[in-house]
């Protein structure tokens, strides 16, 4: 079983709510669901869809085609019909004369008759959908009851009645075409997005401060901290991204583990302060949720266009680490690692996610948030006599005291500075020593970055290389190619800068797959490996990379 359901309508029609109800119903029946949402940058109207992919085991990767289309309005049906597979089912309120297997149910009229109001039309749709995919009605009824319990018994009953009517009418209309009911399964799943896990992982890693300016698709991060006060993280909506990152750097300088979150345009405003973090050697975690640019670009779509920007951002030269998690579990690992390494090396660390990771819900057997390896790398003031914030040491890392941590005075300066932190223009000795000190950390970082995940490379004729959020799509493409008899391996990077040691397979044809037009990562690989990479598969239409897209490019 590998079912792809597209639920589509206009913004404001409640597509996401139906999607959530149906997804939760499947999960409560023991089936893992992968849910992606797609929407336009508007509040009402246009086209939006929630796509559910359901299988016996987690797929956690998108499918571009639909086995079933639930359309809340005729325009949505027209828009999404090309994605329907031959023989797929359509559920919509309108009778159509297309030669498609259509199940026309007037949701609003049914809702009025059985629930007492047109407001319950979406419950009718959810019920009809359950019937069309063989999901027992009880699962939908239970989820509706829980979802609407806060609005009172009357609303719950009306929703359940409307859904039941949708379910019954759909079964009746389907007749012999009705699927056999799906057997229940025993598997439990954590149903979550990377951006829902990151705030938890940040809090577990000791984060106490976030300042951010709202920007899609990053806004969920600060919102989570603000909503979940039990995480104990101070959350401030800044007047702009410049203020956001400078606040976070200030908090970090005073000893708090701190972060900010934004997207490419906001990060552009932050680059001056990224350089400040580099110069002042202040730990900071910056999350960039990528979306297609340039400029405003496509605010609600996905991309991997800001890799080189993250790697190069900021004036002058200073070390930084760039991590790009692949899924919610990896996001938990990378977030804890980001705070740990930022603090240990006193550097900015960039977490590179994207709209796809922000808004897609994965089903995982569990999500494990690692313990922070060290609570704080701040120095012990009782072991220090004369304090100098930028004391030259063998490894380039000075004992760090926070502002106000003890009676030792801490002087932090964005100018080139002496060991004590005061402004200097000593070009002969101090400047070269400070440059060497900072750059030495970059060399040490190279020793801690994790190598890529490599699989099935032995005897591979083709190696598919990717980074960040495309991992599962690339794996799925490789699996399908192997099934058709081709020797295909994969190499997947989630630690991108400094680039880990690379050993590209010599006998395999290399294809680098990424969500941009220019082959940004392929370029970095070429530089590092000293070879030319012929196969560059780029996607820049704002749509997540899926296995079908990769296979099509390889044909």
């Amino acid at each position: 079983m590998d079912q792809s359901l597209f639920l589509c309508g206009a913004a404001g029609e409640g597509i996401q709510t139906i999607g959530e109800v149906v997804a939760r119903a499947f999960l409560a029946h023991g089936y893992p669901v992968f849910a992606t949402s797609e929407f336009e940058s508007r509040i009402r109207g246009g086209h939006s869809s929630t796509r559910l992919r359901i299988a016996e085991t987690p797929t956690n990767a998108p499918r571009p085609d639909a086995d079933l289309l639930l359309a809340l309005n005729p325009a949505a049906l027209d828009h999404y019909l090309p994605a329907l597979r031959d023989g797929g089912t359509v559920i919509s309120p309108d009778e159509r004369d297309d030669k498609i297997d259509s199940l026309a149910l007037p949701f609003a009229a049914i809702a009025e008759e059985h629930g007492g109001s047109k407001r319950y039309a979406n419950a009718v749709a959810a019920g009809a959908l359950a019937a069309a995919v063989g999901l027992p009605f009880a699962r939908i009824g239970e989820i509706l009851s829980t979802t609407f319990a806060p609005r009172g018994q009357e609303v719950v009953e009306a929703n359940v009645a409307a859904a039941q009517a949708g379910y019954d009418l759909a079964l009746e209309r389907l007749g012999h075409r009705a699927p056999t009911p799906l057997p229940s399964r025993e598997d439990r799943h954590v149903f979550t997005s990377a951006h829902d896990v990151i705030p938890l992982a940040a809090a577990a890693a000791g984060c106490r401060f976030i300042a951010a300016y709202p920007m899609s698709p990053s806004t969920g991060i600060i919102t989570a901290f603000s909503r979940h006060t039990d995480l104990g993280v101070f959350a401030e909506q800044a007047e702009d991204e410049i203020a956001a990152i400078n606040m976070s750097i200030g908090a970090s300088a005073a000893g708090a583990r701190a972060m900010t979150a934004t997207s490419g345009g906001g990060f552009a405003l932050m680059t001056e302060a990224l350089s400040l973090a580099g110069m002042t050697e202040t730990p900071i975690v910056v999350l960039i949720a990528q979306r297609p640019g340039p400029a405003t670009g496509l605010p609600t779509r996905t991309a991997q266009e800001d890799l080189l920007f993250a790697v190069r951002a900021g004036h002058g030269e200073f070390p930084r680490l760039v991590l790009a998690p692949s899924d919610p579990q990896d996001a938990a690992v990378k977030t804890v690692r980001a705070f740990d390494l930022a603090d240990r090396f006193q550097i900015p660390v960039i977490l590179l996610t994207d709209q796809y990771l922000a808004d897609s819900f994965f089903s995982l057997p569990e999500v494990e948030i690692p313990e922070a390896p060290v609570r704080s790398y701040l120095a012990d003031p009782t072991e220090i006599h004369d304090y100098a914030r930028y004391a030259l040491t063998d490894d380039g890392i000075s004992p760090r005291l926070a502002l106000g941590q003890s009676q030792h005075l801490v002087c932090i300066d964005s100018d080139e500075h002496t060991e004590a932190g005061h402004i200097t223009e000593d070009l002969a000795t101090v400047r070269p020593a400070m440059v060497a000190k900072r750059m030495q950390k970059e060399r040490r970082l190279r020793a801690v970055v994790e190598p890529p995940q490599r699989s099935n490379l032995e005897g591979a004729a083709i190696a598919l290389v990717g980074w960040g959020s495309t991992s599962n799509a690339i794996d799925e493409a490789a699996r399908r190619l192997r099934k058709s008899g081709r020797a295909v391996g994969t190499i997947h990077f989630t630690e991108l800068w400094p680039l880990p040691e690379i050993d590209l397979p010599r006998d395999a044809e290399i294809y680098v797959i990424e969500g941009n037009a220019s082959g940004q990562f392929a370029g970095l690989l070429e530089q590092a490996a000293g070879t030319t990479i012929a196969g560059r598969i780029g996607r820049s239409d704002g749509v997540p990379i899926d296995a079908e897209f990769i296979l099509e490019a390889l044909r």
């Binding site: 409560a28 023991g30 938890l200 006060t229 039990d230 101070f234 926070a402 502002l403 106000g404 932090i412």
Partner: protein, 296 residues
Amino acid sequence: MTTSDAYRSDVENQWCPGCPNFGILTALKRALVSLDLAPHEVCLVSGIGQAAKLPHYLNGHVFNGLHGRSIPAALGIHVANPSLKILVTSGDGCLFGEGGNHFLHTLRRNPDITVLAHDNQIYALTKGQGSPTTRRGTKTRLQFDGVEVDPSQMLATAIVHGCTFVARGFAGDLDGLSDLIARAVSHRGLSLVDILQPCITWGAHPVDWYRERVVPIPADHDPTDRNRAIDLALEAPERFPVGVLYETTPRETFASSYRERIGDRPLHRLPPIDRTVIDRHLENMTIRPKSQEESP
């Protein structure tokens, strides 16, 4: 008892000999001593410019950040460690020009910090361009025919935006200035002291020009009288009434609701988060099959 020796720094001073910034530095030290604050209880935060070098010239914790960004950095430090007395010390270009947006929004936030604006009405470190507070008509090294716009009125702006302590000082009046700074630091909430600091190298006017225009705020001025305070503020740049223009009951300060929840400790001293909180959130994301839920 803290003495002025505690604040003496041996860092080489880069200001022009005779710069009124020296007066501000002396007045600041006196104020800190009069409040019996030890250097490790004080954090000086600045941006870039000649004024922004001040933190290097006395003892204290120092965050000398980016041009225009002293206030956001100070906000972060303040949230992370509320026990520090934070003074932002930077020039008019840094605070009101490059950092104008931060200044404006921080008036709304009302953090318990003190902002000392070294207001010399010129960009000095970049050698003599007009600043947000330069008088209209002033000829500069960039505005050769004279500045064509009116100066900003940041004191009036501060009062309008709810700042509860707004004062103007004069670098040439050490006693008056140190008293103003001490009152500003003692005031709970955001305090602004705009300090007239004639620039002896690039300024359009000599120190005497300022002395002629600096007038004490009338003795009968009621500092809680908002409208009168705004009128006094708007007398600049023709006359500069010096003293406390506006002082009223402190209002709720920045981050106070967070601090009510979490206590007063510096954030780095808080224990790690209770893992059961994380586990509870993960549990809320977990969906068990109905069949499992029903069996105990």
